[in-house]
Symmetry: C2
Subunit: 342 residues, 2 copies
């Protein structure tokens, strides 16, 4: 693993270190994340998360050859990313722990956990590495979270968080590798199907960090449409797992590493992806940056780099839909500095 600061600050490094807090058998957990679990999650989180708009555009509007592009504007979600769905689902799925909630994350998952805990009146502690900047710490504190600097890097923060959890009675959340978190993310696909007016799209594209998002989508779609996974070359967890036939560690670097910089595909996500995700693609960094700019300049959508991978894959010809296709893109987050668009 390269010692990349952006990567070390990521939500998604937990996987290689998180064995201690999730003892159930991963395949059994993955089996538990099916369409019924997604439907339960949707009922649970309704009224707690925002039903974000689904915007249908002609493909030509974005210079694309497919009939339609459906944009799920999930970057408008509470806490600025799709992660709120999983965090609310995890906290609402069981009686509220009096000792509150713990999570190790300096990124979107930490913000989402703090947002959900605050809304539900639960105490929340977020363990961050020293690398997490003052602005992010202040944002977490503004959400009512106690911010604890757990060590020099993410692994140390996670270890400190895990140690704190022992015997505390607090609920420790994982950024993506828990069944409730994956099922919560899957509610995005349920909403796309319900809100389009014409059912599922022909193809559904989403970014992959630890794989919680794409696994949730795939669990809902379950072969009724094509779900495809997109990764930056600097953090190709699913791509590498598919090549190796099993989850393997990857390096973490690049433009979208702060949101997609997982070290390894999730244990919950992997069997779901193996079964239901039709393809995984690497999207070149310059295409990601160009798509982020295009989303602002052409559509006035301000999104973080991780949210631009689906459009980047289409614009760069990495994914080439047929002329008749309706392709849905999940815009997954907007926790970034908007001055980078100017």
């Amino acid at each position: 693993m390269r010692p990349d600061p952006a990567g070390v600050d990521s939500d998604a490094h937990a996987d290689a270190h998180a064995d201690s807090h999730a003892n159930a058998d991963a395949d059994a957990d993955a089996d538990a994340v099916d369409a019924a679990a997604v439907q339960q999650a949707a009922a649970r989180i309704a009224g707690h998360v925002r039903r974000t708009p689904l915007w249908r555009l002609r493909g030509a509007e974005l210079g694309l050859g497919c009939a339609e592009v459906w944009l799920k504007l999930e970057h408008l979600q509470r806490g600025g990313s799709f992660k709120a769905r999983g965090m609310f689902n995890a906290l609402l799925a069981r009686p509220a722990p009096p000792a509150g909630v713990l999570i190790a994350s300096g990124g979107n998952a930490g913000i989402a956990a703090a947002t959900a805990a605050q809304a539900l009146g639960l105490a929340c502690e977020v363990y961050v590495p020293t690398l997490t900047g003052a602005a992010k710490r202040a944002a977490l504190a503004a959400l009512g979270a106690r911010v604890v600097v757990g060590g020099a890097d993410y692994a140390q923060a996670l270890a400190a968080c895990t140690e704190r959890q022992q015997g505390s009675g607090a609920l420790m959340l994982h950024a993506y590798d828990q069944p409730d978190v994956v099922a919560g993310a899957g509610t995005l696909a349920l909403e796309i199907e319900a809100d389009s007016g014409t059912g599922l799209p022909d193809r559904l594209l989403a970014s992959v960090g630890g794989g919680g998002l794409v696994a949730g989508l795939a669990a809902w779609v379950a072969g009724r449409g094509r779900v495809e996974a997109l990764e930056p070359p600097g953090a190709p967890t699913l791509h590498a797992a598919r090549a190796a036939g099993r989850p393997v560690d990857v390096g973490v670097s690049g433009l979208a590493a702060d949101a997609l910089g997982a070290r390894r595909i999730g244990r919950i996500a992997w069997p779901i992806c193996r079964r239901w995700v039709a393809a995984s693609h690497l999207v070149p960094e310059p295409a990601i940056r160009a798509a982020q700019q295009q989303l602002w300049q052409v559509l006035r959508l301000a999104v973080e780099p991780a949210a631009a991978l689906p459009l980047a894959a289409l614009a760069a010809g990495v994914v080439v839909p047929a002329a008749h296709e309706r392709v849905a893109l999940v815009l997954c987050g907007a926790n970034f500095d908007p001055s980078t668009l100017a």
Copy 2:
């Protein structure tokens, strides 16, 4: 009139100088902008403009006491503002002029006119004052427009544009004071009614520059719901007209002057507003800025100051809906520098 650079660069200064290009009787023109005209406009521009999302949120999501807030995300429109609706309607309402299109504007109307002309294969000349910056000129040129510096200020640019129009056969567009432009803006209210699932909102709030937007909305609603007009204190065209009982010149200054800095309410808009707009309010500048920041920080919507007046009016208590009310807010544009949000 104060010599305010932002104001001088505005779309909306045309009113006091535009008598030469619209010879029809204004009251007769205003009568022509009714619900039927809006419906015709909607049919005409369908497929040319984007059907922007209507996003229904609980009022509590934005800290407001009303039941629901409906956000019409019109800042995602082609060209980054609602102006595209009126410009496409004006160009599609009659046979395309072989000599092309002229407009005087360094702002949203110029961008919208260039966007519509390019899409329809028409030549477009945009007359700007020398004050219009290089970035805006480049943006217009990138849309295929010929940019002509018409003089030191807006009045001179308008005069140069008007002179050029004489005998040229070209169609001169006005930023807001033409019946087709007002009817085009009215299609926003038609879409809100059609897309909400429950008809019109209890209250519909929109910003006023020259009044084309609010007049179009009011022509569609026609008393079936409350339409209220919001203005910055630095450019209170409708407020001043209501106080005087007739259109009067106002000064132009302030945060939103580049989009709302009209010198006088439009001749088409005035009689429609007098009849159908229930109230007009001034919204303090600090509340406008705070609402723009809130839209980014809480909802991740990046909008220009002019688009923040409706939320500002609610947040500052300038407009106080009842607890049961569903209030629709038009977010009218996003042509601004996003680094101002950071």
